[in-house]
Symmetry: C2
Subunit: 259 residues, 2 copies
């Protein structure tokens, strides 16, 4: 397939995004999804998200009701994950999990797509799965923000030689099922997390119809900025506070505290 | 806590199990759970399980109906996983997933327990979650075999200093909820898989009321034998065929082909 994204003349860091602290914070889904996360750890993440005015707190389904109650009135959204992290549940189960978590207060849901559909470039199956989940979710709350995790590092490493085609198809499935975001990674797959090239493809093939969430392995300000420069509107990360501190330090050096 | 399991005099390999090929095969859940597993890969695993007469084929929920149809009459069971691999779904969602997969042909289900309950030694919560799932599962099929994955390497590394107490509590929750097996690991947690010490504790505290499935990182015959010697009745592994070949080679050397 001919690449529709021109790389000519792009040097890493050339288009690196400049953002002030509030702009960066508004892009961060402050995330704690490890299976052993305790209530105390989740409470810390909630407090940090309120302090820094992050876009959302992203927690596992068992913490949704508690998080939603704590975030009430803060302007920070409650985000959770569906079929996480492997995506190997039936669509019906993901739809029920989406409905259940939305009823408990989730305003944003990040669904893990079933990877085999995407890997064999089966648009009908990929779109069909998402449509079943989206219908259930939007019937419960029409304005829920829906992100679809496609585990891009797994897709591109397995579909070597068809990387761009695979990401293009994933974008199409996400667009045509009426979701809001395509998201790179769970952060749990051994193939890795977000990479700049994939985020650019997602931004290109999303074509303004969907936004891009980069996640997995974003642990410093430089990487966060690269992802935003590549087209990410959201950043899923657990290192949000240290990245904000990095930016705060830089701004302070320049005489303008970031937050 | 005083250890109830005496280690005195035990040397690694001393109690190593001797098994012939059919005894070993009957303990193996032949497993493919990676999120990107294709239908062709699953079919290969099914064929291998029939050839080697493994205990079961363990696949993700989307493959249950297909696997169950293919295994019909073979004597090999269909096994699937619930809330896999993180266990961070609500109990109700796990119960629905259990019911749904049993209806499609699952004869054995391996449920990932919600780790925070176990980590804070909350027997009521741990048992309560399991009871909700078990009731739904057994109402659908009374003789379904239920295994509970407690991600023992995560439990023991996080609850350092209280390792034995934590495994003991996990055993109690599994016993008192009426499940059949306690299972060490998903194979997906960075803390690691089965270890011999934990399998011995599970065997001890299971006290004959439940059996032990060791899983995660069992890739050779020596490790498989160590786990059986330590008390494992089942072995969850993807390397079943190469382990059988190892045993076949040994038996052949002795003039007695293993299978």
């Amino acid at each position: 397939m001919k690449s529709l994204v021109s790389w000519t003349g792009f040097n890493a860091g050339e288009g690196i995004s400049t953002m002030n602290a509030s702009e960066l914070a508004a892009k961060i889904d402050h995330t704690i999804l490890k299976p052993e996360a305790s209530a105390a750890e989740v409470d810390k993440v909630i407090a940090e998200a309120i302090t820094h005015r992050f876009a959302s707190v992203c927690i596992s389904p068992p913490f949704v009701a508690h998080t939603s109650a704590k975030l009430k009135g803060s302007g920070v959204k409650t985000c959770t994950v569906i079929g996480f992290p492997n995506g190997t549940h039936k669509a019906t189960i993901k739809a029920i999990e989406a409905t259940s978590t939305i009823k408990e207060g989730a305003e944003e849901i990040d669904i893990v797509a079933y990877l085999p559909h995407l890997l064999r470039l089966d648009l009908d199956a990929a779109r069909g799965e998402l449509i079943e989940i989206v219908r259930a979710a939007r019937a419960t709350r029409s304005d829920v923000i829906i992100k679809v995790i496609v585990e891009s590092a797994a897709l591109t490493s397995i579909n070597k030689g068809r990387e761009e085609e695979t990401i293009k198809l994933a974008c199409r499935a996400v667009i045509e099922s009426g979701c809001d975001f395509i998201k790179t990674s769970t952060g749990f797959h051994p193939a890795g997390g977000a990479d700049e090239r994939v985020v650019r493809w997602m931004d290109h093939y999303g074509a303004g119809a969907i936004k891009v969430k980069a996640s997995g392995g974003i642990r410093d300000l430089r990487t966060a900025r690269l992802m935003v420069a590549a087209g990410a509107d959201r950043l899923g990360m657990s290192a949000g506070v240290s990245v904000m501190n990095e930016l705060g330090g830089q701004d302070s050096d320049a005489g303008a505290p970031g937050y």
